[in-house]
Amino acid sequence: MADAGRLAGFERRGRTAVAIDGLRAYLLIAGMWIRSTMVYRTSFVLMAVGNFAMTALDFAAVAIIFGHTRVLGGFTLTETAFLYGSSGVALGLADLVVGNLDQLGRRVRDGTMDTLLVRPVPVYAQATADRFALRRLGRLTQAAVVLGWSMTRIDVAWTAVDVLLVPVMLVSGAAIFAAVYTIGAAFQFWANDAAEVQNSFTYGGNALTQYPPTVFAKDLVRGATFVVPLAFVNWMPALHILGRGNPLRLPGWVDFCSPLVALATCALAGFAWRTGLRSYRSTGS
């Protein structure tokens, strides 16, 4: 028993050491890419501004809808902006940190995956940090601006719980999106075109959660809650903050479950990644 306990402890320390090693490698590689991007500062600024403008047009479309109707599915413009901003920040964070995973299929196809496997740092850290693109801050900034603006305008009596719920919602949401990215990447070890399927969940999921859940069919909302847990990115906590009822009439405590759902999806993503990598290492293709 004592042996088993010590072994488990060793295993845990081993995992922590690997995680720290991975994080260090991630920062090193990403840092190098940032420095190399900054050599062409003008080009970087233009790209980031372009990225910002593109996503800003996206929100303009939402604003235009509200030019024709005061409420959408019972939600006002500022309330919708709150949903839009929170979902956008979550995706923006995930996209910034692990968005490069969609290159994995290419790596498997052209064999450069092997070069990651011969370096003494975790493959996941290398695959996510490779070609780290700071211009993705553009999307994040735009979403943060919309979120900030909406929070000053929405009609909410902010309680301490509400205030705390905002960062919890954003971090959990980012983790859920990152897990979806990772699961998508893991499938690319088998099917090279899985990137498109994964994009439909990340970018598509973002498009979904930008709008109030009440404008969608109930089955879609159910699917987004129980199958792919996108509803926990922002709907559940945001609806609590906005003082709205749960669209599926789930009990009130579900509104606070985002961190747990995020943990669960990340655990699943970790499992999928390890399985994918193991399969790659046994087939080499």
Binding site: G111, R119, P120
Partner: protein, 325 residues
């Protein structure tokens, strides 16, 4: 003998799926490596050759821990590669001829700096190693160039340097001279020879260019169908391949094909004739008899091309059951 690399009955099987008809799929198990056993001592430089799909790259991938073997035992520097891949990575260097391990868009200098920090190389070791590589591989003018702008020969030199910065005990080279011009090839070979003799780095080298082997390796292993078919010196390879040397003789005038014991005329062109004889036999009695019986002007001996020797060893293999790489 201090064995740095040890393989004992190593196997690797792949499952290949093939379409057989509209919806039916056939599954077939292909043995890429089939019961491979050998040892490489510390400081050796070994050539590892074989036709396409013989299992060379699969072997290298198992030795680096990229691929997990289906069976058998394998150890490199006392470590099981597939179980402790990242730990082993600090002690080995790998150069894939076809693809770079450097960061494509970063200048060479930044790539090296990143290698230093990822491998946690001590600053003084790093500086010394980099200086040596830069000088011997002629990299000084390339350090500020992004990897994607390097020519194939430059990139290969850059890659070899990157694989040596952390003082690896073993260096695996997969086709290190593929696609290089004669000058680059010579430079790479000279450098590898120095690394092997001065640092006592163990080198395992796969190649299609047999000149690499002739100039660098005292020992050569030939793999075919995933099995070792030859392991020994280059000379022995000739004996095994039953190769022949050629005596090129110039006579004073045109003669009918000469008839002489222990040799046969394979070609006649005016007063010049080509006589083939077994590589293992001595040429001296042959030359003496020729000089006694015919009016000689000149003669020379041609060694068998190792390509022919290898080709003879591969003779009779079936092309159908091949895997790429």
């Amino acid at each position: 003998m201090d064995a740095l690399i040890q393989l004992d009955g190593v196997r690797k099987e792949f499952e290949v799926r093939r379409r057989a008809g509209l919806l039916r799929r056939e599954r077939r198990t292909v043995r890429a490596v089939d019961g491979l056993s050998f040892e490489v001592a510390r400081g050796e430089m070994v050539g590892y050759i074989g036709p396409n799909g013989a299992g060379k790259s699969t072997t290298i991938k198992m030795l680096t821990g990229i691929l997990v073997p289906s069976g058998g035992r394998l150890s490199v520097a006392g470590v099981d590669p597939s179980r402790e891949r990242t730990r082993l990575a600090r002690r080995i260097g790998v150069v894939f001829g076809q693809r770079t391990t450097l960061w494509w868009d970063l200048p060479l200098r930044d790539s090296y700096e990143l290698v230093r920090r990822i491998y946690r190389i001590a600053r003084d070791r790093y500086t010394a190693n980099l200086e040596a590589c830069v000088e011997l591989l002629d990299l000084a003018e390339l350090l500020d160039v992004p990897v994607r702008q390097l020519s194939l020969g430059q990139r290969m030199r850059a890659d070899i340097a990157a694989a040596l910065l952390h003082d690896p005990e073993v260096l695996y080279l997969d086709e290190p001279t593929i696609g290089l011009d004669v000058v680059s090839k010579a430079k790479v070979r000279e450098f590898l020879r120095q690394v092997n003799t001065e640092r006592a780095t163990t080198v395992l080298l796969t190649t299609h260019d047999l000149t690499d082997i002739e100039q660098l390796c005292r020992r050569v292993m030939v793999i075919d169908h995933g099995r070792l078919v030859y392991d020994g010196g280059l000379d022995g390879l000739h004996a095994v391949g039953e190769s022949e040397r050629t005596l090129v003789v110039d006579f004073e005038r045109e003669l009918p094909p000469v008839n002489i014991d222990g040799a046969r005329a394979v070609r006649t062109e005016g007063p010049r004739q080509w006589l083939a004889f077994p590589a293992a036999a001595s040429a001296a009695p042959l030359v003496a008899e020729l000089a006694a019986r015919y009016p000689l002007v000149d003669l020379s001996i041609r060694e068998p091309a190792i390509e022919d020797v290898i080709a003879r060893m591969y003779g009779g293999r079936d092309e159908a059951s091949r895997l790429p790489g």
